[in-house]
Symmetry: C2
Subunit: 248 residues, 2 copies
């Protein structure tokens, strides 16, 4: 599995993804699932991917090498998109192209055509946006009421995001929340694992404020995991005990 | 969906289940999923059920009305079992009997034969035990290293159990943890809802210390949910911010 988070708050965008890929429990590898396309001062696009790795890697190859737009006849890449909406459309078209090529065989032999993408960023003066693209190539956008998307193994890490992330959360605070959410997922599910790729883009900066790979032995991450576990234990201890008796 | 928790610690057993049943998003009802079979001073058995309601209700009917044991020819009920292991076997046989009767049609028309049961308790001088019974009628038992089972919509509420529950946790503390786990699940998933049934059985007490239905307007539960949300927020605020920069 995979776990990717995209958070779009008022002041910026946070994306995070683990790197564990498994084709069976005895075939585990590290693959990048968070991809950043950046022309500093001009545009930043981040793409996170879950699902069948052959599908998502092919999609990334199409949007990097170029895919012909059937309406204009022009070959397009992610770096030539004028808006994030157009980038989401390009990724959707790339997904449909991969489905056209591989979909039938995957459905016959690999149990289905599975892929989810997140794409977020800012291009020029246009607003920051964040989209979740489904395997069918259609997509939805975050709104201030629901400022985050998760793809992959999302359930373990959802409660902390539900509790903390609001539209006015600071991006660096949101990065902290994402790391706690990733920690919860990694503790409860072996198929999500380190290292973790993270990126933060502040509004109108047009260059990543954070762009890094957080290794398992990263001292901040180790401390955060330890301190959070202790805080959970302390919070739990501080709650009063249930007063219930037996009312048959 | 459903969410049920069973926790067996050194000093006792905690079981909890929500009561929401939905056959489609516009067909939501309240059904009991935690059933307690008690002869005070002699035995307490608790059964929690998730999956297809027609299957689990039929299983409960069989073990209440009686099911013939093919080895002995005797009709058995849960209340006549000498050990929790034997009770788990009886529930497994009841599941197989329901599968024999309804399995084929369910697989043809309802997408499958789905059921999971937890059964725990103590009978006489025998040790407390807790089992997870699968749809096939086979089962596994908790151990001190893994002192809890969850069935149904289990992922949202697993991280807090992973963090807090140990074999030496006090049963009433474990009840508190179960309520926090249930809260996390209800916040993140609409298909799990109040009221919540809870039971606590202390070792060698042979009578429930807690046996109650916790309604949505229960003052302790309201306070716990509010206090826990605040504690999460405070804990989050207390964590240092991530120090990362941009290392392309």
């Amino acid at each position: 599995m995979t776990y990717c988070i995209g958070i779009l708050v008022d002041d910026g965008l946070v994306m995070m993804a683990d790197t564990r890929t498994n084709a069976g429990i005895d075939h585990i590898s590290v693959f990048r699932k968070l991809h950043v396309f950046q022309k500093p001062g001009k545009m930043v696009l981040m793409v996170a991917a879950s699902g069948n790795l052959s599908v998502t890697q092919s999609v990334l190859s199409f949007v990097t090498e170029g895919l012909k737009n059937p309406d204009t006849g022009k070959v397009e890449t992610l770096l030539t998109q004028p808006t994030v909406f157009k980038a989401a459309q390009l990724l959707g078209r790339a997904l449909r192209e991969v489905y056209r090529i591989d979909g039938h065989n995957l459905e016959q032999m690999a149990g289905g055509f599975e892929a989810n993408l997140l794409v977020g960023g800012q291009i020029g003066d246009n607003p920051m946006r964040l989209f979740h693209i489904y395997a069918a190539g259609n997509f939805i956008e975050v709104t201030p009421e629901t400022p985050f998307f998760q793809i992959g193994e999302h359930k373990y890490g959802k409660p902390i995001l539900d509790r903390i992330i609001r539209y006015n959360t600071d991006p660096r605070d949101a990065l902290k929340t994402a790391m706690i959410s990733m920690d919860a997922t990694m503790r409860s599910n072996l198929s999500v694992g380190p290292p973790v790729d993270a990126a933060v883009l502040r509004k109108n900066a047009l260059e990543c404020e954070v762009l890094c790979r957080i290794e398992e032995d990263d001292s901040y991450f180790i401390e955060l995991r330890k301190a959070w576990a202790q805080a959970m234990q302390d919070s739990h201890n501080a709650m009063p005990l249930p007063p219930y008796g037996s009312v048959p």
